[in-house]
């Protein structure tokens, strides 16, 4: 009786797990793959515009010149003017008002316009699937909730979770897919949970604001946000004059000697209420930054309390770094890519298991092959067109993805489809590297660009041999939707 009850429980959980997995399948794959690549989005941003001046050291004069140059160029007084400072991973400076954006030279003068291009397309695809911003964010967040569901139901539907903890049976293809799906998901469960919950948070917080603001804050949403994240200081100065960045930076060093400034914001510039905010990272903390506030003369006012304020505020401000793996340097980023890739493989093998279980082959199998292997091609092709030919990345992505699905449906042969698409992707990656070198040939000896290009070539070689691997080894690279 007990055995039957347990069996029914696992069966019921597995049914729920499968139905939700199928519901979110393809889009979950898109979100996971783009998220995995987006871990390196600052590096890709740097790589796609390789001819921008790079430097590590800056002075207060550099920032002051940048502000003056921006004002001369635009004759605007924006609500917030950002000067983003160089870091180890991105040794560049840029100035932005949220709409207009320029790279800076080492002396603070404006350089070329920041071209968001392909990287922006990638991050937007991950964050909101290029749907209208708030709606898209909400949809992607619901996918985060569904990932939470899949994590829980996946664990509860696993009747031999401890017994099979280190088992990877490679003999039968379906068993291989199941084992890979289970082993990857079980051991990375804390990571998947973290990604799901933090990912869901970004969009669902707007639902909470909609619900809670009328009840607790007299329908004042701004008041709610300020209560949680901290409010701006009230600054009224007697005269409007240029802000004193040098004094502010000196005072920051006195107030928080261990803090490293990452960007500076001039709020309400050229008004009586102007003040300076310096965002700075603190060693050993996951919070994105602490915000130190200074008046126009550079005198310290206060800090926002993101590092030492209420616990909830510190938690919320740690979400970004922990979701994108932007802490602890390159090794953590590589680990996040591996873990993200595992989530991508899990989403593919999940659908593969279902396809195999159907014991029939129809257009769904072919379309799935087109989606799985078409998306990497679409991403690489869009990068080629955006960086080399300055064509809209999203348009190329949609066209290529549709074309790969259509090609797989036309070929009606998953082996052929997989092989062709992998090789096309490898060729496109090589073309991208060659194109990048030919455009930015003067910078090819820069160690960073060299490493990125070598990595892309290595990925192309792996792609080219991936299909052969599944023929010749027992590993059978399980991203392969061959059924």
């Amino acid at each position: 009786m007990q055995v039957t009850t347990n069996k029914n429980f696992f069966k019921g959980m597995l049914t729920g797990h499968s139905s939700v997995g199928l519901m979110v399948g393809a889009l979950m794959y898109v979100i996971c793959l783009t998220g995995t690549i987006a871990v390196f989005f600052p590096e890709f941003e740097r790589w796609q515009q390789a001819d921008v001046p790079e430097f590590q050291h800056y002075t207060a004069n550099t920032i002051t010149t940048a502000i003056e140059q921006y004002q001369l160029k635009t004759a605007k007084s924006p609500e917030s003017l950002y000067v983003v400072l160089p870091t180890d991973s991105v040794p560049r400076m840029h100035v932005s008002d949220g709409e207009l954006e320029w790279w800076l030279q080492a002396d603070g003068k404006l350089s070329s316009v920041v071209n968001e291009g392909w990287t922006h397309m990638l991050t937007e695809l991950h964050a909101n699937l290029h749907l209208p911003k708030t709606f898209g964010l909400l949809i992607v967040s619901i996918f985060g909730v569904m990932l939470v569901h899949l994590c829980i139901s996946g664990v509860l539907s696993h009747s031999r979770i401890f017994k099979d903890a280190f088992r990877l049976r490679l003999t039968k293809e379906r068993q291989q897919q199941i084992d890979l799906h289970n082993r990857l998901s079980v051991w990375a469960l804390p990571f998947h949970f973290m990604i799901a919950i933090t990912g869901a948070f970004f969009g669902l917080v707007s639902l909470l604001v909609l619900f809670a603001a009328p009840i607790f804050y007299d329908n004042d949403r701004q008041a709610m946000v300020e209560d949680v994240y901290g409010s701006d200081p009230n600054v009224v100065s007697a005269q409007v004059k240029p802000v004193n960045i040098a004094v502010a930076l000196n005072n920051l060093a006195l107030q928080a000697p261990k803090a490293t400034a990452i960007y500076i914001v001039i709020q309400k510039i050229s008004t009586e209420n102007q003040f300076i905010e310096i965002a700075a990272t603190l060693p050993g903390r996951l919070i994105y930054s602490e915000m130190y506030r200074f008046d126009a003369n550079g005198n310290y006012i206060n800090h926002q309390g993101l590092s030492d304020g209420i616990t909830g505020r510190q938690l919320l401000y740690s979400v970004y770094r922990i979701h994108f793996g932007h802490f602890g340097g390159l090794l953590v980023k590589i680990a996040f890519v591996l873990l993200g890739l595992s989530l991508t493989v899990i989403s593919v093998t999940g659908i593969n298991i279902w396809l195999k279980k159907r014991e029939q082959q129809d257009w769904i199998n072919h379309a799935w092959c087109g989606i799985v292997w078409g998306l990497p091609i679409a991403l690489v092709a869009s990068a080629c067109c955006s960086i080399l030919l300055n064509i809209s990345a999203i348009v190329v992505l949609v066209i290529i993805q549709a074309a790969t699905i259509a090609a797989c449906l036309y070929w009606q042969n998953i082996n052929k489809g997989t092989l062709y698409l992998q090789r096309i992707c490898a060729c496109l990656l090589l073309a991208l590297v060659i194109g990048h070198i030919s455009i930015f040939y003067s910078d090819i000896y820069n160690a960073f660009y060299l490493w990125v290009n070598v990595t892309l070539v290595a990925i192309a070689i792996v792609m080219f041999n991936l299909r052969n691997d599944s023929h010749n080894s027992s590993a059978g690279i399980c991203l392969n939707p061959r059924l």
């Binding site: 903890a165 280190f166 919950i197 669902l204 680990a335 061959r482």
Partner: protein, 160 residues
Amino acid sequence: MFVLLALPLWTINYGIEFGVTYNFIFLALTAWFIIIISNKPQKNNHQRYSKETTLKRKTVKPNNREKQNTSTESSIKWLRAGKFFSLIIICGFSSLTITTLFFLTFANVLANQMAYTALAFPLVWGVLSVWITFTHQLARTSILLFIIGTAATWLILSLY
């Protein structure tokens, strides 16, 4: 075991926030490494996979759903639509209200209550959606969740 025991060392060296995160990452990578080295490729698989590369096209068999009559098919569609509605709308509403009420009771500062709710409510939503997809009594469970959500809203409104 050694990976888990390394947690204090990670924490001492990098602080509690980084220490715990590094430990989880390291746990996954170590486990996968063990799986790879303890499941070595078998020689005869080479032949096996080579033989399997030519895919035999299977004839499409009518599955169970196609055998069913139209009325059953229609009811399956309604069931799926109902499940989807419950999963997204009812579970979303109930989880939001239940989590808000929970933290109103257990956290003292309003800003903290909101922050904890924002992080916990996707988790509660996930748990409720597992229940919805598991249950055989979809209508009853959905109504129950809706009533709980409405009651939680009423309690929140009466508390504030």
